[in-house]
Symmetry: C2
């Protein structure tokens, strides 16, 4: 069944009014008729099977038929702080990270990030990113849409990190020492409901300066398997590993 994320303001207890692009999608793309059912997700994480009662020009009215108790959210809230990568890799990271259960993303301006995000184009870029995470949330049947933060530099990221239970960073040099920090040792110590911040470097990795700063501020370096992963693959590894540990 098709799933839609409906803003809180559109809910009136058991009655919903969907407007805008989603209303268009329901009536013109899915060609739904009154009587058809779709799943609607509330921003607080609840979801319900809803029956369409009326389709007007620019809005669709629905009634909640049954609240669903299926929870598809990762038990650890994982925020991916991604060093700005080249080309359209950020879009791949957002899409795959959302499917794999990330709870938030922070684009992180690393020293070796080659791309610079133009302030003028930022609003358009963030709109596009928001669309990607919304669609990936719907497609993967998540209860919540991951949060998209504005881009941060390393000092802002370190400030942000203080509110997390554990912070790690992917560090390939860690893969070369015999006595490396095991990712699973860290994951296994976590409890459901805790928050983890995962910092991933851009294509060239972190600079020595960044590594020192992250370590000094309580980030643990981890390796993600003995192979060298591309920057866009690291988040997928982390999220799949956490899902494997806690969900399977």
């Amino acid at each position: 069944m098709q799933r839609y994320f409906v803003p809180a303001s559109s809910w009136d207890t058991d009655r919903l009014c969907i407007t805008g692009q989603d209303a268009h999608h329901i009536s013109h793309v899915m060609r739904c008729k009154p009587g058809d059912e779709v799943i609607c997700s509330h921003p607080d994480g609840k979801a319900a099977a809803c029956k369409i009662t009326e389709i007007k020009e620019n809005e669709v009215i629905l009634l909640v038929m049954q609240w669903l108790d299926r929870d598809a959210e990762l038990p650890i809230a994982v925020t991916i702080a991604q060093g700005l990568p080249k080309a359209d890799k950020m879009e791949l990271i957002l899409q795959k990270g959302t499917e794999l259960g990330a709870s938030a993303f922070i684009p992180f301006k690393a020293q070796r990030s080659v791309v610079k995000w133009d302030d003028k184009k930022m609003a358009k870029k963030m709109d596009r990113f928001a669309k990607i995470v919304k669609e990936a949330s719907e497609q993967s049947h998540r209860n919540k849409i991951p949060k998209l933060h504005e881009q941060m530099n390393i000092n802002q990221l370190i400030l942000e990190s203080k509110s997390y239970d554990i912070c790690i960073f992917a560090y390939e040099e860690e893969a070369k020492v015999a006595n490396f920090n095991s990712f699973s040792t860290i994951v296994k110590k976590m409890n459901k409901g805790q928050r983890m911040l995962v910092c991933i470097g851009p294509e060239g990795g972190f600079t020595t300066e960044e590594v020192q700063l992250l370590k000094k501020n309580g980030f643990f370096p981890v390796r993600l398997g003995p192979r060298i992963l591309r920057t866009e693959t690291a988040a997928m590894y982390v999220l799949a590993g956490i899902s494997y540990q806690f969900e399977e």
Copy 2:
């Protein structure tokens, strides 16, 4: 250090002669000079730091300086049988699957595969795929290049499956039942050195007929987390989960 996969015929004990595209890459792209070192991998999985002794028009001569004992291969040999996906998703699966340690790939003609691979274009397609897995192997510092099988139909795949220790297939319906097959329960029963075949459906998933046939032939249905993954994300989840279990 740059890594090259060198065919067995190019090795004469401790002396190597690299020709073709790799020779061009060493001399013209990397602009190496005699005295520079690169890593060369032998098809049997060994790798050595090698010093360039001579650069000729179409060949590069090297001497083994030191055999390396670092093993970057996943302890379970995982073959991904991928239902032919749309567009260029197969390329993403091959690249990411190689980074994450897959030992082989089988393109699998599923009933719901929309694309048909044209026999005439097949040779060109396989060349391109071979280039992708070779480059991803070099980049991720693997010791072996994954094997690329010719495309198979489900009967050929079932015949192939008889040589594996365990066969599973990703089945999203499995995610909807309370008493589902846990992926980690299956993975934890495996021993290092064993072989696993993982069958993944195309965009529309498996048909009921395929599900019955796979089950009847000893494939276990598994869910890969409670979220619905796109076809190209399933292989990444499986490989990262196995790496998490056995390597970290």
